[in-house]
């Protein structure tokens, strides 16, 4: 081959590579696909496979609530926790791993945590909470060089692209499910879970919810039986998944590290039932007062119309609920109430909910 020919050949090869490269880059859809893949890869380094070895490996039985529209005869009576590994997220280079409480509940003998490179570590359970569905594991003998996703305070907002990253049977590969943020602030005010439509099943429960840039948004919570089609191991996701938010977990982390078992605080309770059918939009109509509550003590009666709460005008139940969501037991609530022709100002001290409420 002469020199000229070689140069031409090299240039031709170069042009061919250029052309191929140019074709691969494409429209916005290709950009989305690429970003999803790359952010997933990046975040997956900190997503671990967890195996829980139990002293008595009894399946966990959960009675399925039968939804009103369901044929009860077709429902399997019980739910078993499936065998096999589950997912968790390393949130610190020292080897703190967060996962769903559901994954580690039971009579634990020992736990192993495996990263995507196949390196297996022993781990022990620190703090946990069944109410929040969260548990903290500590990798034993960690030397401060583990890949991790830091907890932050990101809130990408309703409709943002999200991904769920899990790591299960094949430890060398992660799983990725894509979706949108469906709702913000679900469940109890203390939990304020995020809802998303990326598919969640037993394997990726406890895995990472990340945004499109690969930041950790939260830890995927156990799919509640009533949002799952067949919670008996066939576990079919319904596209309604939840996550504990990074922000919330950051606030809980020190308690979890100290090995505390966290429970939800008692719910601040007013003791009124609001009339959902009242449509005049000039206040919140009280339909009923629950006996033995702060509302009864303060002398609120059925038929009262709440016009203001803490100085803010309320025209529908949603607005009043939003104000109540910020309250704790012991807090005070100022109400302006219209009773007949009179306007009454009241202040009530919120108490825990009576038993059974």
């Amino acid at each position: 081959m002469t020199a000229k020919k070689t140069i031409i050949f090299v240039m031709a090869a170069f042009l061919a590579m250029w052309a191929a490269e140019a074709r691969a880059l494409g429209p916005e859809a290709a950009a989305l696909q690429k970003v999803v893949m790359e952010s997933g890869d990046k975040a997956a380094k900190a997503v671990v496979q967890i195996r829980v070895f139990r002293k008595t490996d009894e399946p966990l039985y959960v009675e399925i609530p039968t939804p009103p529209m369901q044929q009860p005869a077709l429902a399997p009576g019980y739910s078993t926790r499936p065998y096999g590994p589950c997912s968790g997220v390393c949130v610190d280079k020292e080897g703190y791993v967060l996962t769903s409480y559901f994954n580690i509940s039971g009579d634990i003998d020992h736990i192993t945590v495996t990263f995507g490179d196949g390196k297996r570590h022993g781990a022990k359970l620190l703090g946990y909470s069944q109410d929040y569905d969260i548990a903290l594991l500590k990798i034993e003998g960690a030397k401060g060089d583990l890949p991790f996703l830091p907890l932050g305070d990101k809130n990408p907002g309703l409709g943002a692209f999200v991904m769920v990253i899990g790591r299960t049977e094949n430890v060398f590969q992660h799983t990725l499910n894509f979706g949108l943020m469906s709702a913000i602030g679900r469940h109890r005010p203390e939990i304020q879970a995020w809802q998303f439509d990326a598919l969640v099943n037993y394997g990726n429960t406890g895995g990472a919810l990340i945004d499109i840039e690969g930041n950790l948004l939260g830890i995927v919570a156990y799919c509640y039986p009533d949002t799952q089609a067949t919670p008996n191991g066939l576990g079919q996701s319904s596209g309604v998944g939840f996550a504990n938010t990074s922000q919330k977990l950051l606030a809980m982390l020190n308690d979890l590290k100290a090995g505390k078992v966290l429970t939800l605080p008692a719910r601040a309770f007013v003791g009124i039932a609001m009339d959902d059918t009242y449509t005049k939009q000039d206040g919140v109509l009280i339909r009923e007062i629950i006996k033995g509550t702060a509302a009864e003590e303060a002398g609120i009666t059925a038929g009262d119309l709440i016009m203001e709460a803490d100085g803010q005008a309320v025209t529908n139940p949603s607005q009043l609920i939003a104000i109540l969501k910020t309250k704790k037991v012991g807090d005070k609530l100022a109400l302006k109430i219209k009773r007949g022709d009179k306007v009454v100002d009241l202040e009530i001290t919120l108490r825990p909910a009576p038993e059974g409420m």
């Binding site: 140069i7 950009a31 690429k34 602030g185 809802q195 439509d197 499109i212 319904s238 309604v240 949603s318």
Partner: protein
């Protein structure tokens, strides 16, 4: 000379390699940045779209609805509204900002699983609304958002938002749900998760228009949760019914009765196998052997397409149907009939409660449930109501009713039509075929209120049962 050439050649190769690497590196790095910017831009657009469209969303009873005009008309599913309005004529519906509106029902479309309602607005108040889009122009693979309140989990007034694509359009199926029969004859199929509580909620295109309202899911093992097969009543079908719903309490879908199709090899179109004497198709002038090729000058590729075009329109719609007969084109015109919709007889069909109360009290019934899948001729008995006239006379499940009072019965609709003309206490002669033998029974018709509704047949654990 040779060495110099080799040097030049080598230098050129090294230069090109370095240049390629450098260029490639810079392009790769730049591309990532640009890609992320594009994706974040798309995310922003998606969030803006949600913020813009969410105010038109309503919580209605156990489901949802969407406002479609500034003066407060909104649409929801029939199966949502029929439950919501069961007790009262005025209900409260909740806007996405938490406002409670008083709402009234305007018109029912029970077979199309649609109800038009209206919220009461203050003087001069304009409702946030969304336009109905063109569902025929929607493409398979197009991205959509679905709004709803799955599993009634919302603890504020905001909907849940889910994302998916249009998996198929123009789906044709007749189905039953919650004891109602529905015709999703021009449905959009989506993989966006739909669950109980999503019913009546809008399916929204990325340009912010309503492509349909979500109302039906296919499920497995009877568990009501998303399988990735969700169906929406299409906006184009809805648009055809809205003017009628504003002026009629109930609207009906159109059909042509008394024709049967088969599928000969090598023919494109709908091939008429036979036509019943005295049926609707005979009145149009159809004959056995006709190959229907066009409806309103649009090609008819399949039987399903023909029936969808007819049935996604209201009754009394005029059509021009072109058929090939003995190699020649014939053009037939006419109006469609009302789809027989007899409450309580076909798979537990229900009328809206107010009407049901009026009609149910002393309506004459035979006391059987017909198999609506039976191709005929005749009407096959799927179940017999205990203690009904039919049960007392000895009619049994599996019997095929061929004659009533001596007149031949082509299908179950004909039987229902005949019974309708009778009063409770009348006696009718029912001729059935049982195990190949013909038997005749004298059945005393009873009042609907006197007999119990038969229990629905047990669902089999079949993974493909809708």
């Amino acid at each position: 000379m040779m060495t110099r050439t080799r040097h030049v050649c080598l230098a050129a190769m090294v230069f090109l390699a370095v240049a390629f690497a450098a260029l490639n590196f810079s392009r790769a790095a730049g591309a990532d940045e640009a890609d992320l910017r594009k994706v974040l831009g798309a995310q922003k657009e998606m969030q803006d779209l949600i913020a813009r469209t969410m105010p038109a969303f309503l919580k209605v009873g156990g489901g949802c609805g969407v406002i479609i005009s500034e003066d407060g008309y909104f649409i929801t599913n029939y199966h949502v509204a029929v439950e919501a309005f069961r007790q009262t004529e005025t209900i409260a519906v909740i806007g996405s900002d938490g406002a409670h509106y008083a709402a009234k029902k305007i018109g029912w479309d029970p077979l199309g699983d649609l109800t038009l309602c209206k919220i009461e607005l203050k003087e001069g108040e304009k409702a946030p609304c969304l336009e109905l889009g063109d569902s025929d122009a929607a493409t398979i693979g197009q991205m959509v958002l679905v709004y709803g309140n799955p599993f009634s989990l919302s603890n504020d007034s905001k909907p849940s938002i889910a994302f998916g694509i249009i998996s198929a359009k123009r789906r044709y199926m007749a189905t039953t749900n919650l004891g109602n029969s529905f015709l999703y004859v021009d449905a959009l199929q989506t993989d966006a998760p739909l669950n109980p509580g999503n019913s009546g909620g809008p399916m929204i295109s990325l340009d912010g228009k309503v492509l349909g309202i979500n109302g039906l899911i296919f499920m497995r093992y009877g568990f009501k949760a998303s399988t990735g097969l969700g169906f929406a009543v299409s906006a184009n079908q809805i648009k055809k019914f809205i003017p009628l719903l504003k002026t009629n309490e109930v609207v009906y879908h159109g059909a042509i009765s008394g024709w049967y199709f088969d599928y000969p090899v090598g023919q494109i179109g709908a091939h008429v196998q036979r036509v019943d004497d005295g049926g609707g198709a005979a009145a149009w002038g159809f004959k056995a052997g006709d190959l229907i090729t066009k409806i309103n000058d649009e090609p008819v590729p399949t039987v399903g397409h023909l029936l969808r075009v007819i049935t996604s329109n209201p009754e009394q719609t005029e059509f021009k149907i072109t058929a090939l007969r003995d190699g020649k084109e014939v053009v037939l015109t006419g109006k469609t009939e009302r789809i027989p919709w007899a409450p309580g007889q076909m798979s537990g069909l229900e009328l809206p409660p107010q009407q049901q109360q009026k009609q149910d009290a002393d309506r004459a019934v035979l006391g059987v449930v017909f198999d609506d899948q039976f191709a005929g001729p005749g009407a096959k008995v799927k179940a017999v109501t205990p203690d009904s006239g039919a049960a007392k006379a000895g009619i049994a499940t599996g019997d095929i009713i061929t004659k009533v009072d001596g007149g031949p019965m082509a299908n179950f609709a004909a039987v229902i039509g005949h019974i309708k003309s009778k009063k409770a206490g009348d006696t009718v002669k029912i001729t059935v075929t049982r195990d190949g033998a013909e038997k005749t029974f004298d059945v005393v018709l009873m009042k609907y209120s006197e007999i119990q509704k038969p229990a629905p047949p047990p669902l089999l654990p079949d993974p493909y049962t809708p």
